[in-house]
Symmetry: C2
Subunit: 208 residues, 2 copies
Amino acid sequence: MTLTKTPSPRASAGNRERILKAATTLFRRQGFHGTSTREIAEKAGVSLGNIYNHFKTKEDLFVFILAEYEKEYFRPDQPLYKVFADTSFPENIEALGEASGKMVHKFGDYMLLMYVDVVEFDAKHIARLFHGMRDRYAKLLASRPGGPPRLRSGLDPAAAMMMVVWNFFNYFMMEKLFKAKGHYGMSDPDAIRMFASVFRKGLLPEDR
Amino acid sequence: MTLTKTPSPRASAGNRERILKAATTLFRRQGFHGTSTREIAEKAGVSLGNIYNHFKTKEDLFVFILAEYEKEYFRPDQPLYKVFADTSFPENIEALGEASGKMVHKFGDYMLLMYVDVVEFDAKHIARLFHGMRDRYAKLLASRPGGPPRLRSGLDPAAAMMMVVWNFFNYFMMEKLFKAKGHYGMSDPDAIRMFASVFRKGLLPEDR
DNA sequence: CAATAATGAACGAACGATCGTTCATATGGA
DNA sequence: TCCATATGAACGATCGTTCGTTCATTATTG
């Protein structure tokens, strides 16, 4: 009996996931060349040779992890994209800030692996993600109903939204990935409020 | 006689500089663990063993390079600190932008080595640089004559200046280190003008 | 000044350790 | 039986570091 379960015809294959998880942790903490296949095998509780039953080379393993994260990261139900879809710029600045914090929290490992790629592979696996960025933001804005954002004249809406989102991302990456906790001397919500205030009304006093 | 010269008792010792230069280039391009001592020796035109006449270990060599850059980076005659000393916030936003660009251009190698440290050494050699950042900005502002900056009420001047400077740094690091040329869809001067405009007057139209 | 001793930079072979990868073999469910 | 999965010893290459040695220069001596 018990034939109802075991939906996968192959054997457990849980080892593959354990290899991926162990490799992710080690690559993130000590880089690609600083991590040995033996370390990965030991942390995953798997034999050394078994890694090569699942991945052709160590670099293939690294690239696979990056690709998996990328697929997950750009899913439309991730916090940032939900804000893009459900709210309007620039009224949603605080929401963009909170969503950016969630994204950095969720994908901190991925972002550190991007740094690994930049440092040890000259960004060869991820460089394409950085191209045509403004156009992607422009497309996001165009796909929203309700016409273009109402901004001060002369401002490019796509560039403006990029400026806001990148500001939040860089803030949270400093906070959470570089361990510079509280580097603005205030809490995350206070920082979001401050950033939003500056982005909306600027630094200068109003009476001039 | 001739005691005025020959401050160094030993011969040329130009090799030490060549080792440092070669190691900097290689560490920046392929990381610490991705660079072998043999590569460094070959690129420097020096024997393998000679590296160890000048530096105790490979990691010592890396740390020495970081320390040298740090000393240079914080010299008061570097572009950013000259702007801090000679101009007033927030009138100097464009000058902060140009100086940030110069700093990233001059110290791009240093910044990439910082990423190397984050990725391969868990930031253990540079983490201290990120602590007490707001207070350092506050001290910078306090040391300027002319009283506190005139900003909209409720804004912390130190945090506000940090926000501006970090925005520029992150922009130029993306442009020059991550090879995302023109990622805002405009030239560097245009980007500086746009950022300055947003920081001064905000995103919202003035008539509300 | 000439002769000698002392210095430490420079070299590259060599060491033991560890690297990524392969392979012969074992296992266990279909 | 078959075949995908799992194992770990083994391979050749390369790693960071050490070592004995050479050699040009400097310092000391007479």
